[in-house]
């Protein structure tokens, strides 16, 4: 099975989106291997993200997940719901607590504004959060909150694509 075969082929009907709609949450465990892969993919090999000896010197309980990955996961959550005919034009997130190797993150979001969506175009605002899932599977401490995105509907690319 190829890497992309598990990607969905059906997405939410954009014209049906309304304020209060809940975005299907995205849950992801971030292991040390994922963190090493992320370090390579971003050209960022800071020892905080993989070097046990270094983080012990800093008196941290383990390697720290690069907080910027929250942004990637939030965009993934939105795009997996809306499909390729959408474009995240604005993304904001504030850091709250450190996350460590092996912990599981859950991204969630709710539509808080819909503008000009009568024909499935227009834009929506989604308010989101990223939390660490606790041992019971519940929402634990916040990794990033508040988070928000403004998303264009009915287009695969942003306004700069036709510039």
């Amino acid at each position: 099975m190829s890497w992309t075969e598990s990607y969905p082929t059906e997405f939410v009907d954009h014209a049906s989106i309304a304020v209060g709609d809940v975005v299907p949450p995205l849950t992801r465990t971030i292991n040390l291997t994922d963190m090493v892969a992320y370090a390579g993919a971003t050209w960022d090999w800071h020892k905080l993200h993989y070097d046990a000896e270094y983080v012990a010197e800093k008196k941290l309980p383990g390697p720290i997940v690069d907080g910027q990955v929250y942004g990637a996961l939030l965009v993934e959550m939105i795009q997996d719901w809306l499909g390729p005919q959408s474009f995240v034009k604005k993304l904001d997130f504030a850091f709250r607590n450190l996350v460590f190797a092996g912990e599981t993150l859950r991204c969630s979001g709710t539509v808080t504004e819909v503008v000009g969506n009568e024909s499935g175009t227009g834009e929506i605002t989604v308010t989101m959060q990223v939390v660490v899932v606790d041992a019971e599977g519940n929402d634990g401490r916040a990794a990033a909150a508040p988070c928000s995105a403004v998303v264009l509907l009915g287009t695969p690319d942003g306004p700069g694509a036709s510039a």
């Binding site: 390579g40 090999w45 942004g71 287009t155 695969p156």
Partner: protein, 172 residues
């Protein structure tokens, strides 16, 4: 004693410009998608991307605002090879406040990225514990070889005083 010294205050307006030595490439986006677990074929399947209206594969949006590919810097002692303001503020701990990204269009493999970083504002305030906090607001603008605006990134770095030198009025 304030963290907002004249030398720190004078940093407002400082700029750093980095231009990648090569086009972004298609593999970079595919690699990032794999690393974060994003199966979206926009990052790896040119036929799928074209069917959706794009010219070619693209990269996950936040790769541009996160990568150090354009910087061309040496790996430092801590393993970092990206943009930094090299600020050394004694008796503080550094924390990251957050990011605000604006994306203007999707990356293309042919884009050669230039990142222009600037320090927009330097302020200080006192938190509820009485510790002074130095706030560095900086931003980056990402353009390509034709001057097309790709994205913008605003971030806040906070230096928190470790040992308040004296009780201060709560301004936070």
């Amino acid at each position: 004693m304030t963290l907002l010294t004249p030398e720190i205050a004078a940093l407002e307006g400082t700029k750093r410009v980095y231009t990648a030595p090569e086009p972004f490439g298609g593999a970079a986006g595919r690699y990032f998608g794999l690393a974060v677990g994003d199966h979206n074929p926009l990052y790896s399947d040119p036929a799928y991307a074209r069917a959706q209206g794009l010219a070619d594969v693209t990269a996950p949006l936040t790769l541009l605002t996160e990568t150090n590919q354009y910087a061309g810097l040496e790996i430092n002692d801590e393993g970092y090879a990206g943009h930094t303001w090299d600020l050394d503020v004694p008796n503080t701990r550094q924390v990251r406040g957050g990011n605000s990204y604006t994306f203007h269009r999707r990356l293309r493999p042919t884009d050669v990225v230039t990142a222009t970083w600037s320090i927009d504002k330097v302020t200080s305030k006192v938190n509820k514990a009485g510790a002074e906090m130095l706030l560095i607001n900086s931003s980056a603008t990402y353009t390509n070889q034709d001057g097309e605006l790709l994205a913008e990134n605003a971030e806040t770095i906070i230096f928190v005083e470790l040992t308040p030198s004296k009780p201060k009025e709560d301004q936070a």
